[in-house]
């Protein structure tokens, strides 16, 4: 009987203790971060975006050498890189960030953020730290295809154009090599014919340049 009464009193008193705790909490200041009003990047103090936050990946194209080590390092194969050699006859002569001459165009640099697991292995693998975690996390979208981000500065036509220039150069070189061969064969005999061929190809490159200017 005494235990029974003690049990009752203990039960009610512990409930009162619990109610006291919640009552104190009722008037304590809240800890909520009001996200759209207070952006985590703007908000100073402890809640700043951490340095190693795994947000959207960003590719700094001038730094990228097109070595594809990030593509190899990616555990889920969500990076697709395609490079196109810079043609020597191309009038555009890009430079790397450090001033070196660029050897490859990045005709395609796609990261599928729908597949990416944001592990950051690509950022470690990159020799020039061209691929880094940015602080952008607000890129949810209505369509999944929007998550396939193209980092390459070229659109499809420009890529085709670059490829065409490259093909032209290869063709030219082949022709030149052929011509050289022929010239070597008929070195002393017929020099006038090769001169005229080089002249005609010069005309063609200037035409290409015009087209590119129009498209830009």
């Amino acid at each position: 009987m005494i235990n029974y009464l003690k049990n009752i009193i203990k039960g009610f008193s512990t409930i009162l203790v619990g109610m006291k705790v919640t009552f104190i909490n009722l008037f304590r200041p809240n800890v909520t971060v009001q996200y759209p009003n207070v952006h985590p990047l703007v908000r100073a103090g402890s809640d700043k975006m951490p340095d190693n936050a795994r947000n959207k990946l960003n590719v700094i194209i001038p730094k990228c050498t097109g070595c594809k080590s990030c593509e190899k390092a990616c555990p889920v194969n969500c990076i697709t890189i395609e490079t196109t050699k810079v043609a020597s006859i191309d009038t555009e002569k890009p430079l790397m960030e450090d001033g070196k001459k660029r050897v490859f165009w990045l005709s395609q640099f796609d990261i599928d953020f729908a597949k990416c697991c944001f592990c950051g292995l690509c950022t470690i693998a990159c020799p020039t730290s061209a691929i880094v975690h940015s602080t952008d996390f607000e890129y949810s979208c209505y369509d999944r295809n929007e998550l396939l981000v193209h980092f390459s500065p070229f659109n499809k036509e420009q890529v085709a154009e670059k490829k065409r220039i490259l093909a032209e150069e290869v063709k030219q070189k082949a022709e030149k090599a052929l011509a050289d061969k022929q010239a070597a064969e008929k070195a002393a005999q017929e020099q006038n014919i090769t001169d005229s061929k080089i002249k005609s190809s010069d005309d063609q490159t200037s035409a290409n340049q015009n087209i590119q200017n129009n498209s830009n």
Binding site: F12, I15, M19, N25, L26, F27, T32
Partner: protein
């Protein structure tokens, strides 16, 4: 009190009796709807503040329009009746539950001059009519053709029927002290300051002091049973999310679910109002004649009731859910003996004073 039908007479002087009745009947409905919006907002906000967060903030100023948005949302939701459900019963159940809560509101005296129906056995009527909620719950649970609904309904019925006994004991105790079942009369007896409230032994002068512990314990017992009768935490085993999906209203969507929601909050108000009437002086002012005019009495009544609604919400966010057998243990082995002892003491008090 003879003049509790003051408003009815006033209206029927200018219109017909039937029209006056309809107009009078609309008042509790409007009260219920407005109260439900306030209570839902209060529940969300108090829950959030207790958890150190903010609650609805972006719907109107401080999220004040959140319940309104919910009403508009629920109006548009598809009204699903499951294929295997018992369609007539499934569709009837929410209205039966709502009917129970609305009928109970009809006898609450909001002021000495206004009770929608001045029934002289109001307390008894409320105990009886609240059993309609049980039937509605069984109806909904059984007709849903869902085992979780059925288990929830069975738990709810066993719980409400068991807890009706201590609740009736509390009400009987006060009735034996007040010599009346009329809620208006009971409220009127407690006029003249909070010292006359039945939770402090009733209007009997200084010699009632020995009665105070019993009445306070009786009030605590009634508060606990009221939590159980409205299926609120810590006694919300009928809709325990961790065991049954959502209990008896698992299969309900759209407006039918809104009726369940409304009835739950309405029942909270009804039990709080009963608590106010039988223990805390009903519409009477706590400071004697200070602000005790019929208009102010409405304010006092609603303020006291809302205080107990707030207490229920506060308790909900404090305590975890009890187990079913603990629930029954609490009812039959603790609350019932306690209420019986207190009932004997209060009956003695009723005989003496």
């Amino acid at each position: 009190m003879e003049n509790h039908q003051f408003l009815f007479n006033f209206i029927s002087e200018y219109t017909g009796d039937i029209l006056a009745g309809v107009l009078i009947a609309i008042i509790p409905l409007a009260l219920l709807l407005v109260y439900a919006l306030v209570a839902i907002y209060g529940e969300l906000k108090i829950a959030s503040f207790i958890q150190l967060k903010l609650g609805p903030m972006r719907t109107g100023k401080w999220g004040l329009l959140q319940p309104v948005a919910e009403v508009f949302k629920l109006l548009q939701k598809e009204d699903i009746t499951p294929d295997g459900a018992d369609k007539p019963l499934f569709n009837l159940a929410p209205f039966i539950i709502f009917l129970g809560c609305y009928a109970a509101l009809s006898v609450l005296p909001l002021s000495s001059h206004f009770a929608p129906s001045g029934l002289n056995i109001g307390l008894f009527f409320i105990i009886a009519i609240s059993s309609l909620a049980v039937l509605g719950i069984v109806m909904g649970g059984w007709a849903s053709n869902n085992k979780y609904s059925l288990i929830g309904a069975m738990r709810s019925v066993s719980q409400i029927i068991s807890y009706e006994i201590p609740a009736a004991m509390c009400i009987l105790g006060v009735a034996s002290m007040a010599h009346s079942l009329d809620m208006n009369v009971i409220s009127a007896q407690q006029q003249g300051g909070f010292w006359n409230w039945y939770v402090l032994g009733g209007p009997a002068g200084i010699s009632k002091i020995w009665l105070i512990p019993f009445t306070v314990v009786m009030f605590i017992v009634y508060f606990v049973t009221s939590l159980a009768e409205t299926n609120r935490t810590p006694f919300d085993v009928p809709e325990g999310e961790s065991e049954l999906v959502a209990g008896y209203h698992t299969e309900y969507s759209g407006m039918k679910f809104a009726f369940f929601y409304l009835a739950e909050y309405g029942n909270m108000f009804v039990v709080s109002a009963i608590m106010t009437v039988i223990f805390f002086g009903g519409w009477s002012s706590p400071f004697g004649d200070f602000l005790n005019s019929p208009i102010w009495q409405i304010f006092w009544f609603i303020a006291k009731s809302m205080f107990f609604v707030g207490l229920q919400i506060w308790l909900r966010w404090t305590l975890p859910r009890t187990r079913v057998d603990q629930l029954m243990y609490l009812c039959w082995k603790i609350l019932l003996p306690l209420s019986m002892v207190c009932f004997l003491a209060m009956a003695l008090g009723g005989m003496l004073y």
